[in-house]
């Protein structure tokens, strides 16, 4: 019997174990997966004194309500999240980007992500998980990863193998900013679309549809007209690729995306904007803005530098 564990009082909407994801499996149809918002994932681990590829719990919209049993442990939550910690009769309002100590019988109630989708819970210890292809990342559609490829469920126990005895209180001053302009590089089928369609793509607003998940973000807007063919020969896809099926509404491929697709690709979201894109909630508006490859590479360098800088401040 494991002496340190979390008991799940409420599982939340889509709570899964995630890390940096898995490589070199696209050719058999297994996607990258991993934490959707890479920056917030890395920050959560640093706040609890972990290395950068350490499993965390990712939650969407509403997080889990957990009761902790065992020796004291540090935890941290990142994102834009409301949560409470209950210590006996004492109810503490949680703050993101700050570590908190949990002791035996304390409760952590992750109430909601605010104006964003994903948040992360890291612990100063190691969840007892089974890895698949060297990663814990859970893909619930393919039933791949830890927890038998399933999201967390109520009454389940999450065992903690080891606790790193690092109870330093860590804190970071950081506020997530929201972006509405998503920068894209033109896709390999950009010329499949009418002049009017191309204009709509770069000038009009699109709304994030409710039918968005870890696989893809569906958008709604003015129809983007295809003048060549609404199908292409199925070929490899990547994270951030924007496909437009015959109905003219773009779909952006996200971390659990299908590895192959047959709809024309009008664009690809630049790597620098991915973390912020995935945080857009259903109903939010976004606009696409064209950049070239050189600028996209520079934007990523800057974004990565900023992330490294935040990590070094912890």
């Amino acid at each position: 019997m494991n002496k340190n564990y979390f008991e799940i009082i409420r599982a939340g909407i889509n709570s899964t174990f995630q890390d940096l994801g898995r490589n070199n499996l696209y050719h058999i149809g297994v996607p990258f997966s991993g934490a959707m918002d890479n920056r917030n994932y890395l920050l959560a681990n640093k706040l609890t004194g972990n290395n950068h590829n350490h499993p965390v719990i990712e939650f969407a919209y509403q997080g889990p309500h957990l009761k902790y049993h065992g020796d004291k442990i540090n935890i941290a939550i990142t994102g834009n999240v409301s949560f409470k910690i209950k210590k006996g009769d004492n109810l503490i309002n949680g703050e993101c980007y700050q570590s908190f100590i949990l002791e035996n019988d304390d409760e952590l109630d992750i109430i909601s992500t605010n104006k964003s989708v994903y948040g992360y819970l890291a612990i100063s210890g190691t969840f007892d998980l089974k890895f698949q292809w060297s990663s814990c990342s859970t893909n619930t559609k393919a039933k791949i990863g830890s927890n038998n490829g399933e999201k967390l469920s109520v009454n389940q126990k999450i065992n903690v193998k080891e606790i790193n005895n690092n109870f330093v209180n860590r804190k970071l001053n950081y506020v997530n900013t929201k972006i509405e302009n998503i920068r894209v590089i033109k896709g390999t089928n950009f010329n499949y679309f009418s002049e009017e369609g191309k204009k709509i793509f770069f000038k009009n607003e699109f709304k994030v549809s409710k039918l968005s998940d870890r696989m893809g973000m569906r958008l709604e807007g003015k129809k983007i007209e295809n003048i060549i063919d609404t199908n292409i020969r199925s070929e490899g896809l990547i994270k951030g690729a924007i496909q437009v099926p015959a109905d003219g509404n773009p779909i952006i491929m996200l971390s659990d995306h299908g590895t192959i697709g047959g709809y024309p690709k009008i664009g690809v979201v630049v790597s620098a904007d991915y973390d912020k894109l995935v945080q857009l909630t259903p109903g939010s508006s976004l606009k696409f803005q064209e950049v070239d490859l050189n600028s996209a590479e520079t934007l990523f360098k800057l974004y990565d530098l900023e992330t490294q800088n935040l990590i070094s401040q912890i």
Partner: protein, 224 residues
């Protein structure tokens, strides 16, 4: 041979082997795939072969488009390595509850249901690639008269085991997933086993596949 290399976004190389799709071109793609896989280039995350394309995605922190393009431009392709051809017969039930798009196909193809099935079940298919979802085989080639486009709006949920048709290809949904292919039946056979890390896919590129029609009773009592 690769006809053109361009960028797909800022973190992938798009290698185009030309417009045509046939077994020879596909074999070329697979050869490149295997060579690059063996070379183990630092920063390369994934290599995805398809009928006539190869997409190489990479970690922008470690390498970029221009650097990787140079490596691929100067690649020497390993010769030999004959691809193994395993043979499979996949049972398919075409009852109404499983053949979600057969009526749509009758209209699209202007063919009667029975003719569609007759032509489909007569064929021996070649597996060009696997993917989209884990283990899904892309099988060709369908007869000219069976070629239809994808659904205008892809389904949110296609049931596990569904057999789909689009253009010159057939596929099998290895688990429930979104998808836009025209569904004509369902197999009780498990095509992808995620508990096997080494060979989770039943069908692999180069394998030969035929389908066999089974009754609903047989489907329900099917034990692998």
């Amino acid at each position: 041979m690769i006809k053109n290399i361009s960028n797909l976004g800022d973190a992938a190389l798009y290698c185009d082997f030309g417009k045509e799709v046939n077994k020879d071109i596909n074999t070329q793609v697979i050869k490149y795939f295997k060579t690059i896989q063996k070379k183990d280039i630092a920063g390369v995350n994934n290599i995805t072969p398809s009928y006539n394309k190869l997409i190489i995605s990479f970690d922008l922190k470690k390498i970029n488009f221009n650097k990787l393009k140079k490596v691929i431009d100067n690649l020497e392709i390993i010769k030999g390595e004959s691809i193994q051809h395993k043979k499979f017969e996949i049972p398919v039930c075409c009852e109404k509850e499983f053949s979600l798009d057969i009526k749509r196909l009758e209209e699209k193809l202007k063919m009667k249901e029975e003719k569609i099935y007759e032509s489909f079940f007569e064929k021996e298919f070649f597996c060009y690639m696997t993917g989209f979802i884990a283990g899904m085989p892309f099988l060709g080639d369908l007869d000219e008269n069976l070629r239809a486009k994808r659904l205008d709006t892809p389904r949110i949920k296609v049931p596990k085991g569904s057999i789909g048709l689009t253009e010159q290809f057939a596929n099998i949904y290895t688990f429930e997933s979104p998808g836009g292919w025209n569904i004509i039946g369902n197999t009780p056979l498990n095509i992808f086993d995620s508990t096997k890390e080494k060979e989770p896919n039943l069908i692999n590129p180069g394998d030969l596949v035929t389908f066999k029609r089974i009754s609903k009773e047989k489907y329900q009592n099917y034990h692998e």
